[in-house]
Amino acid sequence: MPALSQRLLVVILCFRAFFNAHTAEQSYTIAVIPKGTTHEFWKSVNAGAVKAQRELTSQGTKIDLIWKGPLREDDRDQQIQVVENFMARHASAIVLAPLDSQALVRPVRNAVQAKVPVVIIDSDLKSDEYVSFVATDNYKGGQLAGDQMGKLLNGSGNVILLRYAVGSASTEAREAGFVDVLKTKYPAIKLISSDQHAGATREMAYQTSQNLLNRFGREVNGIFCPCEPPTIAMTKALRDLGLAGGKVKMVGFDAGSQSVLDMKNGDVQALVVQNPLLMGYLGVVTAVKHLKGEKVEKRIDTGVVLVTPENMNEPEIKDLLYPPLSRYLN
């Protein structure tokens, strides 16, 4: 038995030596941790990360990319576990889209203590220990949506805001931007419901939408949803009731393929679109820059664009609506 454990030790030491020799080259392991893996938004982020990996590799920096979401989507505890596990694995850096602005603070601090730098993408974290925050200016995105809603309704009418989920910093900023613009620029528009949360899944969002429309369907003129699942669910609920096609103006967020289809069919009047591919790309690039000792900005904006049926066929908009996923993911 002791002989065996000795032999094991030798083997382990050999591998350690082998590994250390390996890290002498420029080679980094980057762990990218999204909020979930099934939504198309995160597939675009994944594609962007792969794009960064390929570019950096062709420039002579070898990147091992690990893409790993929480086992149960939208479960904070599970995402904490993933962060901890990559910290223990000594990933060179972690790129994280935190599910909650508070619950992930301590795991990020632990990772930084263990000398694993963290780049935050998509949603903010109540901390300043991260390297950089690479995300959409969500408040601006919400303002864009509010402005478009004001124009669509010619400045007066009843509007529903279906919120996403509590504790999700990105969507809360969009909701705030939307509400602020309506209040300051379009005082004649009335928010008849703004306290309902759709919930994480499309099914839950669909049920909430149906319930809301059952209550407010006769008086509502415009609806804003701050991200992909409620946008798709609400549009479906509008269609069920025959309120789609512009009878109720629908302004959504993000370019899921269903939302884009809905816009083509005239059921969605405007989408505020972010650039998740750029987010994944810049997340990884920023992490690598930091690892190489270069200075990086603390806040990097990845931009928002308002897409309407009129401009949706322009080439640069098309790239946002139909991200070239197949080029990067198999």
């Binding site: 576990q81 993933v82 596990n85 990559f86 910290m87 694995r89």
Partner: protein
């Protein structure tokens, strides 16, 4: 002829008892070995720092498994654990917000868990209803109450000593282990003694082996059931306290499906869902096995669906082994 078959049966029983005891251990060693095979993962996987993380991630499931072992050995089941954990975390965070001290929150967590366990036990024992259905109902009641109390939001508690229970502190070393790990270890030792060495413990096994026989022997079955569910509730409440410490907030949507992880841990640990067998040590190893599987697959970079498939396969193998054991024991007799 008869005596030889009898001794044969005894030998078989002895072998199976050995497998029962060693099986979960073997599983754990196998899983640890599996991840140690990969040269790129091993230098990180087999470190004190990583085992600290694994142990910390095990705490909540292990704490729940302590209570669940009592219930499953007695022939029952509790599906409300995940909801109780969420409710406790919300109640604790709310109490902290209202200015309660850390010890007050500890007491409150235990009280919430024990209270729900008491209700479960009273309905199951008093009205002789199926534990599956009663606790299924309680799952909804506790989850709904958690959402109601929290106003459907996460409750951000102010910083308190509670947050320190599950703090990794220095993430690069094995020691100091988070306080929560020590609490769980201590309680596991205590419960192992209770299960093996006290009258209450023997009653639990008697109840699970044959409830009618236990009743005929003069055991007050219904009273014991109330005690069992209430005692288990204490552990579920403590699991909620650990969850609160880990998230640093009360979250009404946390731990959905946690009860299934806990039941899986107990079953992997050699307990039988038909009652009468199981051990605290086994359940703890079962919980650890699940955490190692998750930790290892993360670090190997395996996709999430692989993890789900593997854990599923492990559970079925564990239950299959249990079935085989019962079958052999019966035919051996």
């Amino acid at each position: 002829m008869q005596s030889s078959s009898k001794s044969n049966g005894q030998a078989l029983a002895r072998t199976w008892r050995l497998i029962n005891l060693a099986g979960p251990f073997l599983g754990l060693v196998l899983v640890v070995g599996l991840f140690s095979l990969s040269p790129s993962v091993r230098p990180y996987f087999l470190t004190g720092a990583n085992f600290k993380i694994i142990l910390t991630q095990t705490v909540i499931v292990a704490m729940g498994a302590l209570g669940m072992t009592l219930i499953i050995v007695s022939g029952g089941i509790d599906l409300s654990v995940g909801s109780v954990v969420a409710l406790t975390s919300v109640v604790g965070a709310t109490a902290l917000l209202k200015g309660s001290g850390a010890w007050g929150v500890v007491g409150l967590s235990i009280a919430v868990g024990a209270g729900i366990g008491l209700v479960n036990g009273l309905v199951i024992g008093g009205l002789r209803m199926m534990p599956f259905i009663v606790t299924l109902g309680m799952m909804g009641i506790a989850r709904g109450t958690a959402k109601w109390l929290s106003g459907n939001q996460t409750v951000n508690a102010p910083d308190s000593p509670i947050n320190g229970i599950m703090d990794l502190k220095d993430p690069t070393l094995l020691f100091p282990l988070p306080f929560g790990v020590w609490i769980t270890l201590g309680l596991a030792v205590l419960m192992a003694v209770v299960m093996r060495g006290t009258v209450f413990g023997r009653y639990i096994f008697a109840l699970g082996s044959n409830e009618n026989a236990a009743r005929l022997c003069g055991i007050r079955v219904n009273l014991q059931k109330v005690k069992i569910y209430c005692a288990a509730g204490i552990f579920f409440g403590l699991a909620g306290l650990m969850q609160l410490s880990r998230l640093t907030q009360g979250d009404p949507t946390v731990a959905i499906g946690l009860e299934l992880d806990i039941i899986a841990a107990v079953v992997i640990g050699g307990a039988s869902l038909s009652g009468g067998s199981g051990s605290i040590l086994g359940s703890m190893i079962g919980a650890l096995t699940m955490a190692v599987l998750r930790n290892g697959s993360n670090q190997m970079g395996w996709p999430t669906y692989m993890q789900e498939i593997i854990i599923g396969v492990v559970i079925i193998i564990a239950v299959g082994l249990d079935k085989l054991r019962q079958h052999t024991l019966k035919s051996g007799r």
